[in-house]
Amino acid sequence: SVFTPRKLYGEVTSPLYPKPYPDNFETTTVITVPTGYRVKLVFRQFDLEPSEGCFYDYVKISADKKTLGRFCGQLGSPLGNPPGRKEFMSQGNKMLLTFHTDFSNEENGTIMFYKGFLAYYQAVDLDECASQLNLVEESPQPLCQHLCHNYVGGYFCSCRPGYELQKDRHSCQAECSSELFTEPSGYISSLEYPRPYPPDLRCNYSIRVERGLTLQLKFLEPFEIDDHEQVHCPYDQLQIYANKRNIGEFCGKQRPEPIDTSSNSVDLLFFTDESGDSQGWKLHYTSRIIKCPQPKALDSFTIIQDLQPQYEFRDYFIATCKQGYQLMEGKQALLSFTAVCQDDGTWHRAMPRCKIKDCGQPRSLPNGAFNYTTTTGVNTYQARIQYYCHEPYYKMQTRDGRSKSERGQYICTAQGTWKNELAGEKMPRCLPVCGKPVNPVEQKQR
């Protein structure tokens, strides 16, 4: 036998090709391509002594323990069996080509010369998975226990969700101890549902959705977990946790009512014992965005800016006060206020109040005083006072033709300070009056 190198393509010829091949010759060429490929063979030249049943000279092709044909003659000859353009394929990665010649090549006493043959072969990907389908029909032992995936030159197996590929890279075993679901909605079921679930399961299905969402669970029919009439879930059970807090343990044939978990983090633990024949369970989970209560002002002076019809997680609102009022959080005065809707549906800080601005006791005026033109002693927003100087010894300094009453009038402003319309916060001044004695010298005697 002659072995070809294990290559993806090549050619095989008769001895001395294209010169006439020798008599009394037999050789078998073993064509081998890499594993995962099949062999495809095509003849480009074929010129062998023709004979009835290819009895004298012939080429025999075999693969997979089967003979694919025995060939002789040439195209157009009435005798023999030339292969023509036929493509020969092996199932495996090996093909045998046997070339046989007898002691002479004569026709009616005339010595004939035949060139022999030239054949090309190439490796063609073997779809192992397809062959598995065929094999399934023929054999109860498939290549992959669950799923088969072909690729050029090979294949690999995988398992259905909840199962793990074993070291033999073929078989699958239930493994559902850390199943994670992060889509906002979806379905989760016990293994093989609605067919009976496997024994000895320790499954953990975790649903984790974004903060600000809350999960709802709705079980579908059929719902069946091994149960006992007197003892609560002694064999198999489905436990549900929301935010690490147990919210229920279920078994039996009565599906649980829809559950609003009020959480974005849910864990389903499913334990089974070594026996049982229940159909299992399936649920549809959905998530709903968390809403905060509508913000409501605590007094008529608070303004909620751009009030929205509803507020969801991460939404915020800004509260301000009407002019002349001060934002207060407890006893703390605030410059601004923003509250953010939290992932538990509450506002991160309580609604503030607006307290009227207090300008405080007006500053005392050296050599003068003030009186209230609004309610005495009230120093809140829009209160008014009038400063005056102690006349006749002092007079109020004025400018630009303003009267002393204009200069002395101060209003408690929205900023919480006493201000004069023109001078702002600057205090008026009481200037000494010169040369005006109350009791000037007087001489009567003439």
Partner: protein, 242 residues
């Protein structure tokens, strides 16, 4: 004050009583400035022996009472740059300002006097009042006294000085008042007080001069620092706030 009379409370509410190198006078400007004569602080023919204490009293016409009303501490003393202590016959620039540590509270017995704003206050014969706690007919006065004197004619005062062969400087920054025929005058202890004129037009009293110097008392004319010529300096020193 010679030939005058006792003042009543409130007649001259600007009058200050000073005690520096002896008794002196002054006038209140605003509510924290005392106008006085430079020579009350730096007397002529006096050899300085350290800084004298400056006592300032305000608000009464009786020496005993006014000193009971407490001394007003002085923050700063400002002497006019033209004043020459060493020139005994030259009272040029005899003007000074005392800035009080604290403003005083004005009232009927304590009021400032105004400053002049034109030359009409120096018209010959214009009557003014001179007041002080100085000596009166060789006696120290216990009360504020005043005398009414006319602004004298400059030429008369110059002639009177020449006649007396005096070389004392009588500059344009001074004016004189009184009359050799009158037995009325200011005297020692009155220096620094002001020559006050009633401004009828504006219904106010104006200080036109500072009692400065004279030859004896009540035997001729008295000489005064002409305040109109120093108003700018005074205002600058007081840094009048708007």
């Amino acid at each position: 004050i010679v030939g005058g009379q006792k003042a009543k409370l409130g007649n001259f509410p600007w009058q200050a009583f000073t005690n520096i190198h002896g008794r002196g006078g002054g006038a209140l400007l605003g509510d924290r400035w005392i106008l006085t004569a430079a020579h009350t602080l730096y007397p002529k023919e006096y050899e300085a022996q350290g800084n004298a204490t400056v006592d300032v009293f305000l608000g009464h016409v009786n020496v005993e009472e006014i000193t009971k009303l407490a001394n007003h501490p002085v923050r700063r003393v400002s002497i006019h740059p033209d004043y020459r202590q060493e020139e005994s016959h030259n009272f040029e620039g005899d003007i000074a300002l005392l800035e009080l540590e604290n403003s005083v509270t004005l009232g009927p017995n304590l009021l400032p006097i105004c400053l002049p704003d034109n030359e009409t206050f120096y018209d010959q014969g214009l009557m003014g009042y001179v007041s002080g706690f100085g000596i009166t007919e060789e006696r120290l006065s216990h009360n504020l006294r005043f005398v009414r004197l006319p602004v004298a004619k400059r030429e008369d005062c110059e002639r009177w000085l020449r006649k007396k062969n005096r070389k004392d400087v009588f500059s344009e920054n001074m004016f004189c008042s009184g009359d050799p025929t009158l037995k009325q005058d200011a005297c020692q202890g009155d220096s620094g007080g002001v020559f006050a004129v009633r401004d009828e037009k504006n219904d106010r009293w104006v200080a036109t001069g500072i009692i400065s110097w004279g030859i004896g008392c009540s035997r001729g004319y008295g000489f005064y620092t002409k305040l109109l010529n120093y108003v700018d300096w005074i205002k600058k020193e007081m840094e009048e706030e708007d």
